[in-house]
C-alpha cells in the first residue's frame, strides 16, 4: 500500500470539500474493492475520503418506491423485511453478493458507483428502472451506467440514495464465476406493470438491457417467451473462464430462470 491521507468526514458537504481540495482523491464507502486495490499497490490516491462517517444507511418504503440509502450494507438489504416484502428479488440479489464479510462491509452506494461489470446491483438498478440520487441531482439508471467501471457521476459527486420503483414481480438469477463468484452472467427481470425490463450483468463490459426479451415478455411473461431469444456474442466478455459465445448462451438460460423465479 502506498501512503495516502485518510479522512472521515461527518457531512456530505465536508466530504465534497475534501475531495475538491485533494490532488487525486478517492471516496471510500465499504472499501471492498478499493482496499484490496490499495493493498496490491494498483492504486495510489493522494487522499482517501471515508464516507462511513456519514452514517447514511437505512431502508424505507414510500408508497410504491423503495428507497435505500447509499451507505446501507448488503447484509441489511438481504435481511430487510421491507425489501423482502416490496421487492423480494432485490433482497435475494443482495444475499448473493460476495461472501459474509463482503456483505457486512460493502454498501449499495459503493457498488453502484464502482459499476464493476460483474457486480449484481447494477442489474437491479437497470432492471427495475431505479433512480440514483446524489448530492447534486437525480439520474435515471438508464443514463447512469455508462461503460466499464464508468458512470454518469461527475467529479466529487456522491450517491446519497437509490429509489427503486416496486415492480409487479421480478427475478434475479446469476451464474457465478466459479473462482471469484462474481456474476459471469446475471439477469434481472422485472415486470414493472408498464412493461418488462431485462438487465444483464457480467456478460458485457457494462450492464445492458435486452429489448427483444423485454418485448417478448411484455407480450407474455412466461419462461418460454425468452428461451428462443439469443443475444449476440459480439462485444461480450471473453476470458479464461467463459467465452463470449458461452456467456451469450447463459444470458438466455439465466433470463428464462429469472422469469421462472419471478413467476413463483
Amino acid at each position: 500500500m502506498y501512503d495516502f491521507t485518510y479522512h472521515r468526514p461527518a457531512t456530505i458537504d465536508e466530504a465534497a470539500r475534501l475531495m475538491a481540495a485533494a490532488s487525486d482523491g478517492k471516496y471510500m464507502s465499504g472499501g471492498m474493492t478499493l482496499i484490496p486495490t490499495l493493498k496490491q499497490r494498483l492504486a495510489q490516491p493522494s487522499d482517501v475520503i471515508d464516507l462511513g462517517g456519514l452514517n447514511n444507511s437505512g431502508i424505507e418504503l414510500a408508497g410504491s418506491t423503495l428507497v435505500i440509502r447509499a451507505g446501507t450494507i448488503h447484509e441489511d438489504v438481504s435481511l430487510s423485511a421491507t425489501v423482502k416484502q416490496a421487492i423480494p428479488a432485490l433482497a435475494h440479489l443482495a444475499g448473493l453478493i460476495g461472501d459474509p464479510h463482503v456483505r457486512h462491509r460493502g454498501t449499495i452506494g459503493g457498488s453502484v458507483a464502482n459499476n464493476d461489470p460483474a457486480a449484481d446491483y447494477p442489474a437491479a438498478c437497470l432492471g427495475l428502472g431505479a433512480t440514483i440520487r446524489t448530492n447534486r441531482r437525480e439520474i435515471a439508471a438508464d443514463d447512469f451506467f455508462v461503460g466499464l467501471f464508468e458512470t454518469a457521476l461527475e467529479d466529487g459527486e456522491i450517491i446519497t440514495e437509490i429509489a427503486f420503483p416496486v415492480p409487479r414481480r421480478a427475478g434475479y438469477v446469476k451464474f457465478r464465476n466459479p473462482a471469484s463468484r462474481y456474476a459471469m452472467v446475471g439477469v434481472f427481470v422485472a415486470d414493472t406493470g408498464s412493461g418488462v425490463r431485462v438487465a444483464v450483468t457480467g456478460a458485457g463490459p457494462c450492464v445492458f438491457r435486452v429489448p427483444e426479451m423485454e418485448q417478448a415478455l411484455t407480450s407474455g411473461f412466461t419462461p418460454q417467451a425468452v428461451e428462443a431469444i439469443r443475444v449476440s456474442p459480439d462485444g461480450l466478455n471473453s476470458d479464461i473462464h467463459a467465452s463470449a459465445e458461452y456467456r451469450a448462451h447463459l444470458v438466455t438460460v439465466m433470463a428464462k430462470r429469472a422469469v421462472e423465479q419471478a413467476s413463483r
Binding site: 500500500m1 499497490r41 451464474f175 466459479p178 473462464h241 458461452y246
Partner: protein, 789 residues
C-alpha cells in the same frame, strides 16, 4: 486399554490453540532489530539480465541492503539442488541447469527472484524495489509442455539445449510389444494431467538470524522437513556447517508437499542476516505463492492398454511428457519417475508394463511434489484407461476390475513394487454396495426426466506410501535415506516427551503420536507431549510427506517405546526384587507374576532417575531411549471411490451428488483424523477434476491464474457429504500395520470424477478441469445425437 489409545476418536489436541488464534507460525515470530525483505521478481518468462542498477534503491528511505545474484556469488553461496539423480535410457545423468537463489545472468520464469531489498519496514522495501533498475533483454519463452522439446523451442538452460532434463524408461518394452501383438483389443487414450498450484492456507515465510558471538545462524521457516533443509543449506548451498545452523519450523499451516522443498527466499534470508548483521524477515503474500511456490502435476500422456477377448489385461504402454518448469526443485525428478511409473500396475495383475517419461524444462515455475506426487498421475492414467477399456468392450466397469484384480500377496509388479497386502475385491464390493451401484440406472432415468445427465465413475486406486526403505530408494537414485527417528524421554515424574523427526502441518501428530504413547505406556494422553520442528531440540529426522508419518515416524516411536519398556522392566524387577522374567506390564502397571506386588509406570520412571535400587554398573540411570526406524517395504494403501454426478446440460454445471470411499489404510490410530484426511484429499482431487488449473499465457508466460479471482479452489459447497468406510489389511512392513492416509483422496478422486462425467456425457475423454463451459459444449454437441437415438 487406554481411553486415549489406538483406535479412539480423540479430539485433536492442537486445535484449541489453532482455532483460538494461539498458534505460533513463522510470521508470528518477531525478533529484536529485525528487517524486512522484499523480493524483486522477474516480469518476464525468459530474459537475459544485461545489468542491475541498485543505486537509487539503496538511497531510498529505510533501505538496509539491496542484494543480487552477484553478491551471492561473491560470498560463494551455491545454488539450490535437486536431491534425486535420474539417469536417461542412454545412461546419461539428468541435465540439471544452475539454480541460483537470486538470478545470475538470466531469469527463467515470471516470478523468478532477481534481487532482494532489505529495509526497516516492508513498505519501504517495496517502494525501494520499484527503484531497482534492471536492464532485461527479453528472450522467446517456452511454456507449453507438449512442445517444449520441439527444435524451434528456445533452450531454458544451456545445459539442456533441447529442453530435455532426461528421457527415462521403466519396464520391459519387449514383453509389452509381445503382449500387444496378441491383443484382442487395444484401448488408447491421450490424457493431460493439469497443472496445479498448491495453495496451503499459510503462505511461505522465513526469518534469518545470525549470532555473531557464537557464529551461528537460525532460520525460522515454513518447512515440512527442517533437518533436510538444514542439510541442504549446509552441505550444498554452503550457508554454514550443520552444527552452526539451527532450523526451526514452528506451527506450519498446511504444506501439501509445497513446503518440502528448499526455496530461494529462505536461503536468501538466512544468508543476508549475516551480511546486514540483523534478522531478515520475509512473509510471502498470496500472489507470490501463486507465482513461486513449486507447482504440481503437469503431464501430457499417451497410454495404450492391451487385453484379451475376456477383458483380461495383457500389457500397458505409457508415454509421458512431464513439465518440471524452469529449474529442478528439490525432489522434482523423482515425482514423474519413481513415484509415478512404479504405480502403473494399479490394483491389477498386469503381466507387462513399459513406461517412458520425458522430463522437460519450460519457462514456468518449478514443478515438484504436490499431495500424492506422481501417484495421482499414475492412478489417473490407469483408472481412466480401465474404465475406458470396459466401455470399449461393453463391459461393466466393476466387472473388468474384478477380472483383473491382484488376489494373492506378495505380488511382484513389472514396475519394481512388491505389493505385500491388500484385498481389492473387498473394498470394491463394499463401495458398490454403499453407492447402490445396482440401481444407478433408475437414478439416471429419474435425472433424465428432469432434463439432467447422470453419470457414475469408479476409481480403484493404489499408492505407495511410507516412503521408505532407504536401501531401495538409494538404488533408484535418492540422495538421502528415508527412515525416521524418534526419541522418547520419560521424565522422573512419569510424563513423557516424544521428539520426532516427523513434522506436523495439519496432520494432527500431537494427538495421534500421543495416542500411541498412551496406548503403550498406559498413561493418559495429557501426560505426553510431542516435540518436532526444531533441529536444536530434535535428533536428525526426515520430515513429513508421502503419507509416511504414521507408517515410518510412529514406527520409530514404537521402537523407542520397546526400549523404554525393556529398560523399565529391568528397573521394576530390581525395585520389586523379582526376576525380570516375572515382570508383567499391562495398563500402565508393572506387576510381579503371581504376587500382588505392583508399580505404576510413573513410579518406575522415578525409580529409574533416583537410581537407589539398582546397580548402575549394570543399568544406566534415567529413562530415555531413541530409535531410527527403516521400514522393510513401502506400504500400499488402496481402495475404491465411487463418484456420481448430475450435469445440467443447459449450463454445463456438474454437481457431485454422491461420493463413496472405501479405503484400506491398514490399522488406524484415530478414525476421526483419518476421515478428515480423506475428506481433504477428496476435496483437492475434486478441485483438480472440476475447478483448478494453472494457466500461463502461451506466448508471454504471464501467469493468468495468479489470484483467487482466477484460480478456482474447491469450496465446501462444491462437495457432497462423503460416505466413508474402511477395510483393513494391516501393512506387514511396519510394527503398527499402518499404511498411511494423507494422500489417498487426492489420488483417487480425479479419475472417479472424470469417469463419472464422461459416463454422463457419453464421451471418451474430457480435459481437467471439466469447467462448465467445457461440459456445456460437449452436452450441446451431443444433444442432436441423443434426440436422434
Amino acid at each position: 486399554m487406554s481411553e486415549t489409545g489406538i483406535g479412539k476418536r480423540v479430539l485433536r489436541r492442537e486445535d484449541q490453540r489453532f482455532i483460538t488464534g494461539k498458534g505460533k507460525y513463522t510470521d508470528d515470530i518477531n525478533l529484536p532489530r529485525q528487517t524486512y525483505a522484499y523480493f524483486l521478481r522477474s516480469p518476464y518468462a525468459h530474459a537475459r539480465i544485461r545489468s542491475i542498477d541498485t543505486s537509487a534503491a539503496l538511497a531510498a528511505p529505510g533501505v538496509v541492503a539491496v542484494l543480487t545474484g552477484e553478491d551471492l556469488a561473491a560470498d560463494n553461496i551455491g545454488g539450490l539442488i535437486c536431491g534425486w539423480m535420474i539417469h536417461s535410457k542412454d545412461g546419461q545423468p539428468m541435465k540439471a541447469g544452475p539454480h541460483p537463489a537470486l538470478a545470475q545472468g538470466k531469469v527463467r520464469y515470471v516470478g523468478d527472484h532477481v534481487a532482494v531489498v532489505i529495509a526497516e519496514t516492508l513498505n519501504q522495501a517495496k517502494a525501494a524495489a520499484e527503484l531497482v533498475n534492471v536492464d532485461y533483454e527479453p528472450l522467446e519463452a517456452v511454456i507449453d509442455t507438449a512442445s517444449a522439446r520441439s527444435s524451434s523451442a528456445p533452450p531454458v538452460h544451456d545445459e539442456a539445449p533441447d529442453n530435455t532434463v532426461f528421457q527415462w524408461s521403466l519396464g520391459d518394452a519387449e514383453a509389452v510389444a509381445q503382449a500387444f501383438s496378441r491383443a484382442h483389443h487395444i484401448t488408447r487414450l491421450e490424457l493431460v494431467n493439469n497443472r496445479l498450484i498448491p495453495n496451503a492456507m499459510e503462505p511461505r515465510a522465513a526469518i534469518g538470524d545470525y549470532d555473531a558471538g557464537t557464529e551461528t545462524f537460525t532460520l525460522y521457516t515454513t518447512s515440512q522437513n527442517p533437518h533436510v533443509a538444514r542439510l541442504v543449506l549446509s552441505a550444498f548451498v554452503g550457508i554454514a556447517p550443520e552444527h552452526k545452523l539451527r532450523v526451526i519450523a514452528p506451527d506450519v499451516g498446511g504444506g501439501f508437499g509445497s513446503k518440502i522443498f528448499i526455496y530461494a527466499e529462505e536461503t536468501v534470508c538466512v544468508w543476508a542476516a549475516k551480511r546486514v548483521g540483523r534478522p531478515v524477515k520475509w512473509t510471502g503474500d498470496r500472489s507470490e505463492a501463486f507465482l513461486a511456490d513449486a507447482h504440481g502435476r503437469d503431464h501430457v500422456t499417451t497410454a495404450e492398454l492391451a487385453m484379451d477377448e475376456n477383458g483380461r489385461f495383457l500389457g500397458l504402454k505409457v508415454h509421458t511428457i512431464a513439465n518440471l518448469g524452469a529449474y529442478l526443485s528439490t525432489f522434482s525428478s523423482c515425482v514423474p519417475t519413481y513415484l509415478y511409473a512404479t504405480l502403473l500396475s494399479g490394483q491389477y495383475a498386469l503381466p507387462a508394463i513399459y513406461a517412458e517419461v520425458d522430463a522437460v524444462y519450460t519457462n514456468t515455475a518449478p514443478v515438484d511434489a504436490y499431495r500424492g506426487a506422481g501417484r495421482p498421475e499414475a492412478t489417473y492414467v490407469v483408472e481412466r484407461m480401465v474404465e475406458t477399456a470396459a466401455r470399449d468392450l461393453n463391459m461393466d466397469p466393476a466387472e473388468i476390475r474384478r477380472r483383473n484384480f491382484i488376489t494373492t500377496f506378495p505380488h511382484q509388479t513389472p514396475v519394481i513394487m512388491t505389493y505385500d497386502a491388500g484385498n481389492y475385491h473387498a473394498s470394491l464390493e463394499r463401495a458398490l454396495e454403499l453407492a447402490d451401484y445396482r440401481n444407478f440406472g433408475a437414478r439416471r432415468t429419474e435425472s433424465e426426466r428432469r432434463g439432467k445427465l447422470r453419470g457414475i465413475g469408479l476409481s480403484t486406486y493404489i499408492e505407495a506410501c511410507g516412503i521408505a526403505p532407504s536401501a531401495a530408494i538409494g538404488s533408484l537414485g535418492a540422495g538421502v535415506g528415508l527412515w525416521e527417528s524418534a526419541e522418547v524421554r520419560v521424565n522422573p515424574t512419569g510424563n513423557v516427551e516424544v521428539l520426532t523427526g516427523s513434522h506436523a502441518h495439519g496432520q494432527g501428530h500431537e494427538t495421534t503420536f500421543a495416542q500411541l504413547v498412551s496406548e503403550r505406556l498406559g498413561i493418559p494422553i495429557d501426560q505426553v507431549s510431542i516435540v518436532h520442528g526444531d533441529t536444536d531440540k530434535v535428533q536428525f529426522g526426515m520430515g513429513t510427506y508421502g503419507s509416511r508419518s504414521g507408517a515410518v515416524g510412529m514406527s520409530a516411536i514404537f521402537r523407542a517405546l520397546d526400549k523404554i519398556e525393556a529398560k523399565a522392566r529391568k528397573v521394576a524387577a530390581h525395585v520389586m526384587e523379582a526376576a525380570e522374567g516375572d515382570i508383567e506390564f499391562r495398563d500402565g502397571n508393572f506387576t510381579v507374576k503371581g504376587t500382588d506386588r505392583k508399580m505404576a509406570f510413573g513410579e518406575v520412571a522415578l525409580a529409574a532417575y533416583v537410581a537407589h535400587k539398582f546397580p548402575t554398573s549394570e543399568i544406566e540411570p534415567g529413562l530415555k531411549e531413541s530409535a531410527f526406524y527403516d521400514p522393510t517395504n513401502f506400504t500400499f494403501p488402496a481402495g475404491c471411490h465411487v463418484c456420481e454426478v448430475e450435469i445440467d446440460p443447459q449450463t454445463g454445471t456438474t454437481e457431485i451428488v454422491k461420493w463413496v470411499a472405501v479405503d484400506d489404510f491398514g490399522n488406524v490410530i484415530n478414525p476421526m483424523i483419518v476421515e478428515g484426511q480423506v475428506h481433504g484429499g477428496i476435496a483437492q482431487g475434486v478441485g483438480q477434476a472440476l475447478t483448478e488449473g494453472c494457466r500461463y499465457d502461451p506466448e508471454t508466460g504471464q501467469l493468468l491464474t495468479g489470484s483467487y479471482m482466477d484460480y478456482c479452489m474447491p469450496r465446501a459447497d462444491d462437495l457432497p457429504s462423503f460416505e466413508l468406510d474402511f477395510t483393513v489389511t494391516p501393512a506387514p512392513s511396519n510394527p503398527l500395520g499402518i499404511k498411511g492416509c494423507g494422500e489417498a483422496g487426492a489420488i483417487a478422486a480425479p479419475a472417479a470424477v472424470i469417469n463419472a462425467i464422461t459416463d454422463a456425457l457419453g464421451v471418451r475423454d474430457i480435459p481437467m478441469p471439466a469447467t462448465p463451459e467445457v461440459v456445456w459444449r460437449i452436452a450441446r454437441d451431443r444433444a442432436p445425437r441423443l434426440a436422434a437415438e
